[in-house]
């Protein structure tokens, strides 16, 4: 009977204990796996999201897009950028808050809900305008799934949540009040035509979005916009890093960041909390698992010292009894580890749902992303746990004084 088979029989001998040990490892292992997914999850997800957007450089006034104010003289700035040889297209993006009336009601007064149709739907209005080399069409930061792109100053696309809540279809009319300067502006409503339903990958989980041209946004804001942009999106002809450097040289007071650089900045600031907590919890869960498996095995071994001494007296080598203990540890941790994977994925989806409720997190961004490296690290850590946890009980059996133990068993 080899060591693994022997270890299996030893565990099965105490099924309650063995089952609980395996379940405990499964629970701890699930948490460990999730922390490994979290450690790089945001970065991987953000990198993927940025890459899928089709734009490789983001130009902003602050150190990160969305922070530090607006880009002034946006139109001329976009033209200067678009004129650079390494730039394929430059797109201005201006964002405003909007309150959409639900159909069937009158216009709302201040903060009061609209009469008859229900409270207005809060949404983010993205207005875009840009330049491209050779006048090629520019892909907006959204994807139309029904209808067509918005053109001019009277057309918009909306997301499916607004379409459902406001009972709007393609071809319908949307009435909204936008505020481009402050939430406390009281502007007359603007009526725009819905020409398409779109997906907005950078809209937050609980955020509804509308997209249209800058002219449409200006019209909705009553012209009170100014020549400013929240962000400039750029695609490059060659290497994004070179293009970003060229933009910085052309307009030194703005920040031009490639997608990798945006991810790098986020890693140092906003995302850093999750990496830190991932590292802390990974350390704690591994230590916890080592401690508890070690205690389980040590108590188990101490209860069987007589048997082990008898096996040694019968001729079992020191190496063999040590291997038996290690095999027991491997079986408990291995079985628990296998269970921890589906459990971990289930837990990760729940934790992801919780974290995505944070304001400003794009709906398509995920905190927990499955990566092969995380799986291999998980396996490696579990192997290390099994070995380290077994060290002390292995030492007990390897240094067991056979004669003294046999004597003690008789006396005991």
């Amino acid at each position: 009977m080899n060591a693994l088979a022997f270890a299996w029989r030893s565990l099965v001998r105490q099924p309650a204990r063995a089952t609980l040990g395996v379940l405990g490892v499964a629970a701890v292992g699930a948490l460990l796996f999730d922390m490994l997914l979290l450690s790089q999850g945001l970065i991987v997800s953000m990198r993927d999201l940025l890459a899928r957007s089709g734009w490789d450089i983001r130009v902003s006034a602050g150190d990160l897009p969305g922070r530090g104010g607006r880009v002034s003289a946006a139109t001329s700035t976009a033209e200067r950028i678009a004129a650079l040889p390494s730039v394929k297209a430059a797109l201005m993006v201006r964002v405003a808050n909007a309150q959409i009336e639900r159909s069937g009601g009158g216009p709302p007064i201040g903060d009061a809900p609209s009469i008859g149709g229900g409270p207005p739907i809060a949404a983010v209005f993205e207005g875009i305008g840009g330049r491209s080399r050779h006048r090629e069409p520019i892909a907006p930061p959204w994807t139309v799934v029904r209808g067509r792109e918005a053109r001019g100053d009277t057309e918009v696309v909306i997301d499916s949540a607004i379409a459902a809540a406001a009972n709007l279809q393609v071809g319908g009319t949307i009435t909204l009040r936008a505020s481009c300067v402050s939430d406390r502006e009281a502007l007359p409503p603007a009526r725009l035509t819905v020409v398409g339903i779109a997906e907005f990958p950078f809209a937050g989980t609980n955020e509804d979005a509308i997209g249209g041209s800058l002219d449409a946004l200006k019209a909705a804001c009553g012209g009170n916009v100014g020549d400013e942009a929240d962000l400039l999106l750029v695609t490059s002809v060659g290497e994004p890093a070179e293009t970003a450097a060229a933009i910085r040289a052309e307009i030194p007071h703005l920040n031009a960041l490639t997608n990798d650089q945006v991810v790098g900045r986020l890693q140092q600031t906003g995302f850093t909390y999750f990496r830190q907590i991932s590292a802390v919890l990974t350390t704690i869960t591994v230590s916890f698992a080592v401690l508890l498996i070690a205690v389980l095995l040590t108590v188990s071994v101490n209860q069987r010292l007589g048997e082990i001494a008898a096996l040694r007296a019968l001729g079992f080598s020191r190496w063999r009894v040590v291997t038996d203990v290690l095999s027991e540890s491997a079986l408990i941790v291995g079985s628990g580890g296998i269970l921890s994977l589906p459990l971990g994925l289930l837990l990760a989806s729940g934790l992801d749902r919780i974290l995505k409720e944070m304001p400003g997190i794009p709906a398509d961004l995920h905190f927990f992303v499955f990566e092969r490296d995380a799986l291999f690290t998980h396996i490696g850590l579990l192997v290390a746990t099994a070995v380290i946890a077994a060290l002390y009980p292995m030492r007990i059996v390897s240094s067991l004084p056979i004669a003294a133990t046999l004597r003690d068993e008789v006396i005991g």
Partner: protein, 228 residues
């Protein structure tokens, strides 16, 4: 003259204690030859089990020389001593020490498996041994389903698995009633008659009387040796 299996010359065993060393065995000179049937008797604490453990290479002497098959036990590595115990020596304990999660057959098979016997050889030998001890019908029973006498018979079968030259028994009837003890004694006689040297540590005088040599120990020394 039959081959000498164990040659102990002036062996002693001392244990370090806080109050000073305790000499469990002192200056014992003894030879065990092939086919010997030896009983070791004496009051509690006289060093019988300690002597048995040294003869079985479970413990090493603190003084003197102990040769097993011509090899000085004190110079052997732990791995070599384990190999000796596995293939040349069989042990039977007062408390049986059967593994509770294995069946009777699996307990008997354990030393065969450890010695690297093939599956066929293991199964054949296991059946042979269980027949020998009269427990073929209980092969698939666990120790918790066996009586004390049956457990000891399984333990004897296990001890004989690798055809040892020497069988060492430490109070083999200590936890058994008189009738069952007599059955075990008869079985041990048969083992000895079949060629295995036997050394038994016992308080049981009826068991001791069956031996060809009886060693009386007191205070760690062999006080008297009687031959039948």
């Amino acid at each position: 003259m039959p081959d000498v299996i164990v040659d102990a010359q002036h062996v002693g065993r001392a244990f370090a204690m806080p109050a000073g060393p305790v000499h469990a065995v002192r200056d014992v000179t003894l030879q065990i030859r092939a086919g010997d049937h030896v009983a070791v008797r004496g009051p509690s604490g006289c060093g019988k089990s300690t002597l048995l453990h040294m003869l079985g290479c479970v413990d090493a002497p603190s003084s003197g020389t102990l040769l097993f098959d011509g090899h000085d036990v004190a110079t052997l590595s732990d791995a070599r001593r384990s190999a000796l115990r596995l293939k040349r020596i069989g042990f039977i304990f007062q408390r049986f020490f059967l593994l509770p999660m294995l069946t009777a057959a699996e307990n008997v098979e354990l030393p065969l498996s450890e010695a690297g016997a093939s599956k066929r050889d293991r199964q054949h030998r296991t059946k042979e041994l269980l027949d020998y001890v009269g427990l073929s019908a209980r092969a698939d029973h666990r120790p918790s389903q066996l009586s004390g006498g049956e457990m000891q018979r399984v333990a004897i079968a296990r001890a004989l698995a690798n055809r040892p030259q020497l069988l060492l028994a430490d109070e083999p009837t200590g936890e058994l009633d008189e009738a069952t003890g007599a059955q075990i004694a008869a079985l041990l006689d048969r083992v000895n008659a079949d060629g295995t040297a036997l050394v038994i540590v016992t308080h049981d005088h009826t068991l001791a009387e069956r031996a060809a040599r009886v060693l009386m120990m007191r205070d760690g020394r062999i006080e008297q040796e009687t031959r039948r």
